[in-house]
């Protein structure tokens, strides 16, 4: 199974999800990301889901979990690039993802990370 790549940029970790995300990918990402945060001592995590057209309730919860996990490890997490259709579906499903920071695109997300993690 392909892994979702985690890139390091200074004290920030970048996760760009480019493939169709399955449940196994999400679980793998949780494990990989938590160990990488500890390894690198990252202060921020940016997850880009702009390429995702379909997000189901499991993936949504996994992302919310990743976010709170990162906070526990003292890294701020920002979710960027959610498609309008995905946002509508999540709202209709009742997945509010409270506590997850969101931004429109990567640039805005980096700005937000800089402002909250400094």
């Amino acid at each position: 199974m392909e892994r979702i790549p985690i890139l390091r940029m200074g004290r920030t970790l970048l996760v760009t999800i480019q493939l169709d995300m399955h449940d196994a990918h999400a679980i793998q990402l949780q494990e990989d990301l938590s160990s990488r945060i500890v390894q690198t001592g990252a202060k921020g995590v940016l997850i880009d889901i702009s390429a995702l057209d379909v997000v189901d309730s499991f993936i949504a919860r996994a992302i919310a979990n990743i976010s709170s996990m990162a906070e526990l490890l003292d890294a701020r997490c920002v979710l960027v690039g959610m498609q309008p259709s995905v946002a509508i579906t999540l709202v209709e499903m009742g997945a509010k993802m409270t506590g997850v920071r969101t931004a429109l695109n990567v640039e805005r997300g980096m700005d937000l990370l800089r402002s909250v993690s400094l």
Binding site: L79, V80, G81, M82, Q83, P84, S85, V86, A87, I88, L90, V91, E92, K96, M97, T102, A103, L104, N105, R108, G109
Partner: protein, 286 residues
């Protein structure tokens, strides 16, 4: 039955021209024409074509069965005629009269040509039923065209009623007008979210000044829209909350806490400026 078939066929085939002429006169008299534009050649060709098609169709063996293939050209002609009349603004009765007014000249010709009373009665009955069916067909086609019209207009209104305007760099506004139902909210949500992505806006202002009533369902829809906007990484301000609406919302027990609400669009814009780190100042006039 055979004799009446013969009569019907004969009437259309042998006296087609005479029928056409008489029919045109009665059409104009009955007012089914409506407009002077239609009186000249168009009516003549329509009447002639219809009689021609009728005589072709009645030639066929299973002429009594309107669902058979031989009636297709007649039905096609009538449908087309009704559609064009619906578009030109005729009433449904005027359209139906086009067919029904054929009865008068048809029966007078039939009376003249048929000597035997029983045969005449049979032929009259058969032709009358036939024309009734064809008349109903025109009404149905007319209604279908009108309904398609209304559906299209509703769609257009839906599009017109959800304009997303850019107030400032990074600030969008959506002035909502009219009642909010599920279908409209869906369209509103989609257009707004799409525009947020396109323009990279940080703040969207939903102005509900033009929404006459807010009930729990509308409040629910608003909450959904706000949540979706937040999920995308923007924020939302609701403006145009009138005193009565504020009272209704409180009485209904709807929880809008956590959402910025403002009384006017101007207040909302001021808040949006503040959040994006802008300020409006006056300029000293010289």
């Amino acid at each position: 039955m055979t004799t009446t078939h013969m009569a019907a066929t004969d009437v259309f085939r042998l006296h087609g021209d005479e029928l056409g002429r008489l029919w045109q006169e009665s059409l104009i008299e009955s007012g089914a024409v409506g407009d002077i534009r239609n009186r000249g050649n168009e009516l003549k060709s329509q009447a002639g074509e219809f009689i021609q098609l009728l005589s072709d169709a009645t030639l066929n063996e299973n002429a009594a069965d309107l669902t058979s293939d031989s009636w297709k050209p007649v039905k096609g002609f009538l449908t087309q005629l009704s559609e064009s009349r619906a578009r030109q603004g005729y009433t449904s009765s005027q359209t139906a009269m086009f067919v029904f007014s054929l009865k008068e000249p048809l029966f007078s010709v039939l009376r003249r040509e048929t000597k035997d009373p029983a045969e005449l009665a049979n032929a009259t009955w058969e032709l009358s039923t036939l024309l009734d069916k064809l008349g109903l067909l025109t009404v149905t086609a007319f209604q279908e065209t009108r309904e398609a019209f209304i559906a299209r207009q509703q769609e257009e209104m839906l599009e017109l009623s959800t304009p997303v305007v850019k107030l400032w760099d990074g600030i969008l506004a959506l002035p909502m007008i009219g009642t909010l139902d599920s279908a409209r909210t869906q369209v509103v949500m989609e257009t707004l979210l799409q525009r947020i992505v396109e323009t990279g806006s940080l703040i969207a202002i939903i102005d509900i000044t033009g929404v006459p009533t807010v009930d729990t369902l509308v409040a629910q829809h608003l909450l959904k829209t706000v949540t979706a906007i937040r999920l995308m990484g923007s924020d939302c301000i609701i403006s145009g909350v009138r005193p009565q609406i504020a009272q209704t919302i409180v009485h209904l027990g709807v929880n809008l806490q956590g959402i910025s609400t403002k009384a006017t669009l101007a207040d909302a814009l001021a808040l949006a400026f503040e959040r994006t780190g802008r300020a409006v100042t006056g300029v000293q006039q010289s």
